[in-house]
């Protein structure tokens, strides 16, 4: 895509954005039961 090799296309357009998605999901799921943490 865009003249890049297939691996580079994957790294730039899939892996990189997925890292950001993972960061967002971590924020949502890791703190679901967060009330007791705030008691620290």
């Amino acid at each position: 895509m865009f003249g890049l090799s297939s691996i580079m296309t994957f790294m730039l357009f899939v892996f990189w954005p997925l890292s950001l998605v993972a960061a967002a999901l971590w924020g949502i799921f890791a703190f679901k039961d967060v009330e007791e943490d705030d008691q620290l």
Binding site: F2, G3, L4, S5, I7, M8, F10, M11, L12, F15, W16, S19, L20, A22, A23, A24, W26, G27, I28, A30, F31, V34, D37, D38, L40
Partner: protein, 489 residues
């Protein structure tokens, strides 16, 4: 105009230093800002400290020479930020609340009940921090030389004087607020250059088509015949995805957030702002194509690629803004390393090992912290005037030194109860010795492993950590005891 913007930026930094100075009370406020920061400040601090002068100047230079394979550093480091939050952020913040830890070696001593692990970690941090700082000072001198139009040594003096003032006076409070300002400038500047440059070269497809005509390896994820081959790709994964957790100047920021729950926003903010600033690495590709077309002069060195490109193609207001952003990147990483190096001397080596944990008065703590910070600046500055080659190379290897010495004992140890003290001592020691030793052998052309020296050292350290833990006697530890009473913060 470039000069004006540069000077305005430096004055703002000084003002922040002055404001922060009044908030200094003791070692806790100097090194951790009193654990009072919200998610935006912490997130921006994590991303701006990860994006250093190397990221803004060095990587575009490497990308200019080697193409997309060197951009993998940015892509992997983004993932590394996520992994660090995933594994370390919550446990570290809870541990600092429970045990009052100020530094990474603090945490390691509590985890393994061992001053030896503290000592080795403190030495690794001190050595890597001073080495990396020297690379930052050189970049600072080069940038200010361009912006202010003075010679290198004077530029270095001016930069270091300003750095000294805002770090020694304001400590971590100053550092976090300047990081915040710096990241805003860096994000805006990077977007302008990325979009403007892409228009200039005629879009993504045109850019990659031109690169491919110069050398097909430039549009690969790793070279088939060039120097950044598959082993470099694998090494980058270890050093930047996994190794990010060992970067003490970054992960220590997890101690500083106001409360644990605020970390949830900090991760996505940090990762996305870092990724945006990482787009600046495209300047290396733009410059390569423009030089090939004859539209841009050949840069005399790799370090000059980004500054030359920006100066040639963007109005001076934008150039001034970008240069301020680059100075920001260099200074934010420099002060992060400075504080971490100073901490390792004052807190880890002097107070905890030499003075055996004796409580110092607040006034004495603060004074000592400031004096040692000043001393490290002076020492690093003197060497930076005429840096010996070997020490400069060590600066470049510091990511690997931190990854090998600290990641297994910190990241695995914080989650795995079965890890033992002996394993931690051996692992961190081997990590330190191999990362420094292999690097020295490599730069002197005595022996160069296929994988990057830091990656090799990390693998040795991690394998020995797990292996020795499994064959030594299991231990209990306070960190995993739910009933341990917390100290006040």
């Amino acid at each position: 105009m470039t000069l004006t913007i540069g000077i305005i930026y430096l004055l703002v930094i000084l003002a922040i230093g002055l404001w922060s100075m009044r908030r200094q009370v003791d070692m806790n406020t100097f090194y951790l800002g009193g654990r009072s920061f919200g998610p935006w400040l912490i997130a921006f601090a994590v991303s701006s400290t990860t994006m250093s002068g190397f990221g803004f100047i060095g990587i575009p230079g490497l990308v200019y020479e080697n193409g997309y394979p060197n951009m993998m550093i940015i892509i992997f480091a983004t993932a590394g930020i996520f992994v660090s939050f995933l594994i370390l952020a919550k446990p570290m913040r809870k541990i600092t609340q429970k045990f009052g830890t100020l530094t990474i070696p603090d945490l390691l001593e509590i985890r393994y009940n061992s001053k030896a692990v503290r000592g080795i970690a403190a030495l690794a941090i001190l050595g890597g921090a001073i080495g990396y700082q020297m690379a930052q000072y050189k970049a600072l001198g080069n940038m200010l030389q361009t912006v202010l139009g003075v010679d290198y040594k004077l530029a270095l003096i001016i930069g270091v004087v300003i750095l000294t003032f805002y770090v020694v006076a304001g400590g971590m409070v100053s550092a976090i607020w300047t990081d915040f300002l710096q990241m805003i400038i860096m994000v805006v500047g990077s977007l302008i250059v990325f979009i403007g440059g892409m228009n200039l070269v005629g879009g993504m497809s045109q850019l990659n088509s031109d690169l491919s005509n110069i050398n097909p390896d430039l549009v690969q994820a790793y070279h088939t015949t060039g120097p950044i081959g598959i082993f470099a790709f694998i090494s980058y994964f270890f050093i930047y995805v996994i190794g990010h957790q060992g970067q003490p100047h970054v992960v220590s920021k997890f101690y500083m957030i106001k409360k644990v729950s605020l970390l949830k926003w900090a991760c996505i903010i940090a990762a996305s702002t870092y990724a945006i600033t990482g787009l600046l690495s495209f300047t290396g590709l733009y410059a390569r194509v423009l030089v090939e077309r004859g539209d841009m002069a050949v840069p005399p060195s790799a370090d000059m690629v980004a500054p030359m490109f920006i100066e040639a193609y963007f109005p001076s207001v934008i150039a001034g803004l970008i240069f301020a952003a680059v100075m920001a990147a260099i200074m934010s990483t420099s002060e992060a390393f400075l504080l971490i190096a100073s901490q390792s001397v004052v807190r880890d080596i002097y107070q905890q090992i030499i003075k055996k944990g004796e409580e110092l008065s607040q006034k004495k703590e603060l004074a000592l912290s400031r004096w040692i910070t000043f001393g490290i600046i002076a020492f690093t500055f003197v060497i930076s005037l005429n840096p010996p080659d070997l020490v400069g190379w060590l600066g470049n290897a510091s990511w690997g030194i931190f990854a090998a010495s600290l990641v297994p004992v910190l990241s695995i140890g914080i989650l795995w109860k079965r890890a033992t003290r002996i394993a931690a001592i051996c692992s961190s020691f081997l990590g330190l010795v191999f990362s420094v030793g292999l690097y020295i052998l490599s730069v002197n052309d005595i022996y160069t492993p296929a994988l990057d020296t830091g990656a090799v050292a990390f693998i040795i350290s991690a394998v020995s950590f797990v292996g020795i833990s499994l064959v030594t006697k299991p231990e209990t530890n306070l960190i995993f005891d739910e009933n341990t009473d917390e100290k006040s913060a």
